[in-house]
């Protein structure tokens, strides 16, 4: 799909997403640093921020400065993969077109993590942190190709609808 002004919009979304990812990853590593320094309040705030989306079980978290990271190994893999995907984005997709990855790509990249996670929940096997991290990275790498494309499309669609509104009003006035 190619639309006027697409490159600038995708680039803007890309830069904002990259900045957000950097802040997100920094917060994950900042929590244990603050905990190690004894800053209880800020450390608790950061751990709490990530608690709705991660179990934070210490034995499944990598440690930094002797304290567990704010998310588990699998989540860290997903976010690291997301950052890696952002690095790959300009080379694989570029900024001049909007196209979501196909389900045929999504499924095989999701499968290793889904199987590993489901087996863990069902108690079939317990994989080491390294395997969780690796399967997370594989899935996470694909996510920016959805996220950046979707947000850029959202902005372009809103702009197009906003531009169409006065025309529709004029047409309605003409009819009256």
């Amino acid at each position: 799909m190619s639309r006027p002004g697409i490159s600038r919009t995708v680039l803007a979304v890309y830069i904002l997403t990259a900045a957000g990812t950097a802040i997100w990853l920094s917060a994950i590593f900042l929590a244990p640093v603050l905990a190690a320094r004894g800053s209880v309040g800020p450390a608790r705030l950061l751990y709490e921020a990530f608690s709705p989306i991660c179990h934070q079980i210490p034995e499944r978290c990598l440690t930094f400065h002797g304290q567990p990271l704010a998310v588990c190994g699998r989540c860290l893999g997903i976010y690291t993969g997301f950052a890696a995907g952002l690095v790959l984005y300009p080379f694989l997709r570029g900024f001049s077109k909007l196209k979501l990855p196909s389900v045929r790509v999504l499924l095989p990249l999701t499968l290793p993590m889904a199987l590993d996670g489901a087996a863990g929940v069902l108690g079939i096997w317990t994989s080491p942190i390294g395997a969780r991290f690796a399967t997370g990275i594989v899935w996470g790498t694909l996510l920016p190709f959805f996220f950046v494309t979707g947000l850029a499309d959202l902005l372009l669609t809103r702009r197009k609808r906003a531009a169409a509104r006065p025309l529709e009003k004029n047409r309605a006035n003409d009819v009256e």
């Binding site: 957000g20 608690s51 034995e59 889904a114 996670g117 169409a164």
Partner: protein, 177 residues
Amino acid sequence: MDQKKPEYLRPALIAGAVAGVLSGLPLVSSGNCLCCLWIVGGSVLAVNLLAKHTAGVLTSGDGAIVGAFTGIVAAVIDTLISIPLRPFNMELANRVMRKVSELGYDMPSNLDGYLGGGAGIPSPGLFLLGLFLTAVVFTVVGVLGGIIGVSILSKNRPQPSPPAAPPPAPEVPQDAA
């Protein structure tokens, strides 16, 4: 592309309520530890509901909006459900910590102070802060889920059929004139 704005709110309310309840219930909420299953799943459900009530083809931008709304609704419901269940969740977290210690893993000595917080009812400030943080995280994940939903469901959705060709003109005999 259909220029008419789809109706995002109703699918987001339904799917967000489902995702929020699943995210707030003890044990069941651990589904979110598996690539934010409930929030991503809720957003995909919202896209599915939206697709059923929208005439045109959904764009990934539509998926992003309905996913964001779903994440916000889920965050509110999750936070509200979590208040009465907080003591139970704390007990569960403590049990996990004890189990981990029994298995021989080294636990940082001051970890209790960082993970979980207090078991009582949180202050209004802490409640609002928790709601805000959960809403931000769930919104981002919801956006992602909505876009993935569009990608998945657009494959299964029947494309609008092209306009029917006009019927062929009746043959007029050459000698009729």
